[in-house]
């Protein structure tokens, strides 16, 4: 089964990002394909490269990066949600050669078209919100 995931809430302030992550682990273990994780609304803050939780706590951003590097799950941050909220700034991106310095490893930036594609190609679409 192909599963599409959408995350609407910021990490730490809400459990949504935790629940989604545990769900994805279980889905992959059961042999399903996670077609894409799309970060929307405040969900884009899951991609904050500079997030530094205290050392004795889970690091939500790093956990997402690992999901991409180890399991190849596609992580997409909505460009318009991110620009509104200050995760990305075009002039900065030009200077530093891309958005790669704002978002953590393993995330890519794209528009809502990639959410739609994910939804259309998948058997299920789950939204995790606040």
């Amino acid at each position: 089964m192909k599963i599409s995931i959408q995350i609407n809430a910021s990490p730490y302030q809400h459990q949504a990002a935790d629940t989604a992550w545990h769900f994805i682990q279980a889905a992959l273990e059961a042999g399903h394909e996670v077609y894409r994780v799309f970060f929307y609304h405040d969900g884009i803050f899951n991609a904050c490269r500079d997030s530094r939780p205290p050392g004795d706590e889970r690091d939500i951003v790093k956990r997402w990066s690992a999901l991409q590097s180890e399991k190849g799950v596609d992580l997409v941050v909505c460009v318009s949600s991110a620009q509104r909220r200050g995760l990305l700034e075009k002039s900065v991106a030009k200077k530093v050669g891309g958005y790669i310095h704002a978002v953590a490893d393993g995330f890519r930036i794209a528009g809502l078209g990639l959410l739609m594609e994910s939804v259309i190609e998948s058997d299920r679409h789950l939204t995790f919100g606040a």
Partner: protein, 96 residues
């Protein structure tokens, strides 16, 4: 049809009012508090018997709730069971 609910107040109530025969509801995150029998806001007791009610075990455990305090009709799943519910039901509605 599967409803995934993460809050116990109005969100759960709005959802419960729209459940019909053979629907499945899964309580996650703070919604697991609605599984407690004594809770007055728990609309679980009003549900028809042909509706399946599940609660996510790890969210219960995280909050120190055990099954003895909860409605007998509730079934418990871990994340693997959560995935199975998603596999076996369509469409899925996330209520948050």
């Amino acid at each position: 049809m599967l409803y995934i609910v993460n809050k116990k107040g109005e969100v759960l109530k709005d959802c419960v009012e729209r459940l019909t025969s053979h629907d499945v509801i899964l309580l996650i995150e703070d919604a697991v508090l609605a599984a407690v029998k004594t809770s007055p806001s728990s609309v679980i007791s009003t549900l028809a018997s042909d509706i399946s009610v599940y609660a996510l075990r790890s969210d219960m455990k995280a909050r120190g709730l055990d099954a003895q305090r909860c409605y007998e009709r509730i079934q418990y799943v871990d994340y693997a069971g959560f995935v199975e519910l998603v596999e076996n039901n369509k469409p899925v509605r996330s209520c948050f």
